[in-house]
Symmetry: C2
Subunit: 260 residues, 2 copies
């Protein structure tokens, strides 16, 4: 099961750092797909000592790369003892979700992100778990533009993101995605952590380029979390050094806020 693999790697590496693989298209559009693949492979090679997970993003990788490239990337991530979470934001009708999950498994990802807009939270997680794939449900994102739909809209007297958290928990989601930015309050994190089991991973993007706040997360979210950094590491002149910096910052706050 995905959660077991995550916990084992997290403990062995003493890391909850996830690195987003988002190679900027302008730099690669006139190059070969292999150049994009090699860029990602090099990031993994350089940073894997400090990272528990990688998060390749569909919007950056799935157009230029094909299945063979994706498998090669995921083999490298596994060789470096990390998990690979496809940031896919899957949100389609049943038959299309099934196809996506089939290919996500073929491409050797370990988990993927899922957007609940098409509703089928339980159905999607059930299929994913048959393949031993983990599912991270978007709950309250990092970008302010998402506020009207995720926080202002409501259902059953709750802001939509809490209703989503309840449904994700009931459907045995492996993780939830919560922004690390000011769009998400401390109370939001605490409330969601109360809704979901302590084993469920809270994945926080928004650190680095988006200005998110590491202590705010770590103070309120328990131990089963992933803190994602993308651009601030992969676009740095020295990704290895930058990954180490984030690893150390996280380590300091982990010792301060550890609940175990």
């Amino acid at each position: 099961m995905f959660l077991d693999i995550y916990q084992k790697i997290r403990d062995e590496k003493d890391s909850i750092l996830c690195i987003g693989l988002d190679p900027p298209p302008e730099e690669f559009s006139e190059k070969e797909p292999e150049d994009i693949l090699n860029f990602c492979l090099k990031i993994v090679e350089d940073t894997s000592e400090y990272a528990c997970a990688y998060k390749p993003n569909t919007q950056f990788l799935l157009f230029p790369l094909n299945l063979k490239h994706l498998r090669e990337l995921n083999s490298k991530i596994h060789k470096e003892k990390s998990v690979s979470i496809l940031d896919h934001k899957l949100s389609d009708i049943g038959s299309s979700n099934k196809s996506a999950i089939f290919w996500i498994n073929k491409a050797k990802f370990d988990a993927f992100t899922f957007s609940p807009f098409s509703g089928n939270v339980r159905e999607t997680i059930e299929i994913a778990h048959k393949y031993n794939l983990g599912v991270f449900v978007l709950t309250l994102m990092s970008n302010f533009e998402s506020r009207w739909i995720q926080k202002d809209a409501n259902l059953n007297g709750r802001p939509l993101f809490k209703e989503i958290a309840i449904r994700a928990e009931n459907a045995q989601a492996d993780g939830l995605v919560m922004g690390a930015t000011d769009n998400v309050d401390e109370d939001d994190i605490r409330d969601v952590r109360k809704i979901v089991d302590n084993e469920v991973i809270l994945l926080f993007p928004g650190i680095g380029a988006q200005g998110g706040n590491i202590p705010k997360i770590m103070k309120n979210s328990g131990n089963n979390i992933l803190i994602n950094v993308s651009r601030a590491i992969i676009l740095d002149n020295d990704p290895k050094n930058k990954a180490r910096e984030f690893y150390e910052i996280i380590g300091r706050y982990k010792r301060r806020y550890s609940t175990i």
Copy 2:
């Protein structure tokens, strides 16, 4: 502009039929990417007399194919005087959406579908329009599982899908996606048509395998629409004949309900 191209092709071919390109993964997973591409090219070749648009779906095509394959598919669709709408359900933060739009343009699609869950409706449409790409905003989908979030949840005293339609109209969306199935009532179609301009395309998936109802759509939605059929055509033994059948059924209702 996308809307002008759509209207010209629609009138020249006298067709509002859109064909979804969703090749089933089980049949192709052990084959070469070129086999999937050739399956799609053959569907386009066989059916283009009757189709105004094709809708390749990300969940079926973007894992096995790369940019070169996608460009070849879209060149064929254009050669057969149709438009190509990537059913991508894009829903990410700004920088990732920008990357997706960059690659969607590079791959020569004419338009894409967008899910409003991440909120940035206006921002995404503005960027897409700089590339002359059309944007179809998911509003009320064909699958019943989406009902709790799209119809039961509410904002500003309206069901969420109407709030989405208002925001899509204000942001100058080129189209809205509305299910053709029983999940969508006649009133829902009429209400959304009143919210958006008559020029805005209503794209209706759900005909064929999902059991949608053609007259219900055509009675309530005006002339600027696309009726999508996927599996019922592409998995038929004779896709050309099946496309002709749907073309003729649609033509009969068009004459009956024509508002021009």
